[in-house]
Symmetry: C2
Subunit: 281 residues, 2 copies
């Protein structure tokens, strides 16, 4: 994914994320809570007056306390409301636990959470209040592993797989490769959905186009949808809904109560794409 | 409208716009094309590698060449596709001409364009290529005047009034007052719509709530809609659709060809509001 350049200097009182070479977001740093290099990536947590605690991986904003609900609700709920009986769920990535939190709002049987970097989990448990309760939930099985290796080795299958990867630099690169989705497809139940975060419609349109071409070779239904993501580049984020037999536009149930971004109307709205995206994809 | 603080230093090689006290967008400045104080506000035009020419008024981004289409298409087309016969249009503000450009895609009889600051028009003609052709269009009547004073004094009426104001600091403050909308209503034809840009759902929700209360005292139909606006705070922007007799969800015609952001699906999608907005408004 182009354009989301690494932060160049996080030792100041300000964090900046470049969305392209000449534009980006800046955040004033009230305090740095955590800053260490793990075996995989640089992990940072800082406090910002507007967004609360902010998690960065390799200088890219992953999660903020204030606006995480936009991204995580839009990642999780469209698949969970359209699958006729989502029971066994796999999340790859998303070590901060935001996706897990949304999935556990449903009466699912199991959630397998595969995160490559144990240190991200430890940081999440320390600084993001929703993660520890999720990991204590009996339905949750945390696996520290590479997502693609996990998919290759496991024999069980899932109703929904969420690909909550970080950007395709560093440890997430493999997740964006064709073999990842081909392998994921082998781990799906008869009725199943894969949802993946794909990038910014403004900054990563060519990457979205490439993904679209790959996905269409693997899945019968390839639909992209878009939701707000204020702290991500361009303020909107694109997701892929991939299935052979689940209609993304037919809701099987109401969303759970207490959501802030997602409802039935927003579900339908998210799948409406502007001409500049339709013409490209 | 809170949170859109003025730029503190535009003499550097970077322009930054604070969206709240601790967060905002930064833009690298390739070159400054214009920087002068008019009778009303500080007007700046600079060139950014990603967004092209960028217009600032009092340090706030109004228009960029690359992403203006999001804001201007979403401001103009919902009203123009739902009014049964939009013929006589009024635009208040919007001196950069982006709204005018979108309106002139329709076979309207007349567009009255009221801008308070003649210097903004001159800057627009010089630096934004779409403005001069619009102003040469025989259907367009440019009036340099205060919007509220204009509405009080004129006797003719309109099918659609677009309130394309800058932020409610400086010369636009009056446009956001109750008497502005009460006066505007007196200048409407029997079937008519007023559309106003209202702010960021993330940063200006309380302002949107206040506007909603005021609008509901004046208009039978008060609907808010949201569209992407990458260079504005939070990346999404909210608009108010105000009418006594036009249904915002019933399209009377296809949108004109050549649009990049707006189509029939996006129209319906834009009126879907997330729970956090519905609960507030």
């Amino acid at each position: 994914m182009t354009g989301r350049a690494k932060d160049k200097d996080t030792d100041t009182k300000e964090i900046r994320e470049y969305h392209a070479s000449s534009v980006g977001l800046f955040f004033t740093v009230d305090s740095v809570l955590y800053r260490k290099q793990s075996s995989y990536q640089k992990i940072e947590v800082f406090v910002n007056e507007s967004f609360g605690k902010v998690l960065l991986l390799d200088g890219l904003i992953q999660t903020t306390e204030k606006d995480e609900f936009f991204y995580h609700e839009m990642l999780v709920h469209p698949a969970c409301t359209t699958h006729s009986s989502p029971q066994n769920i796999l999340v790859i990535g998303g070590g901060d636990g935001g996706a897990l939190k949304e999935i556990l709002r449903y009466p699912v049987e199991s959630v397998c959470h595969v995160e490559i970097d144990a240190q991200v989990i430890e940081v999440g448990k320390e600084y993001f209040p929703w993660l520890s309760p999720c990991l204590k939930d009996k339905r949750v099985d945390l696996v520290i592993a590479d997502g693609l290796e996990f998919l290759r080795e496991i024999e069980r299958t899932f109703d929904i797989i969420f690909v909550d990867s970080s950007e395709p630099i560093g440890p997430s690169v493999a997740l964006h490769r064709r073999d990842f989705y081909e392998t994921a497809k082998k781990r799906l139940n008869e009725e199943a959905v894969v949802v993946a975060q794909i990038g910014s419609p403004l900054y990563h349109l060519e990457f979205i186009r490439e993904c679209s071409a790959t996905f269409k070779e693997i899945f019968k239904t390839v639909r992209f949808y878009v939701g707000p993501a204020p702290s991500y580049p361009g303020g909107s984020w694109c997701y892929a809904f991939l299935s052979d037999n689940v209609d993304p536009l037919v809701l099987q149930r109401d969303p759970p109560p207490g959501l802030k971004c997602y409802n039935r109307d927003i579900h339908q709205a998210a799948f409406a794409l502007p001409p500049f995206m339709k013409d490209t994809i």
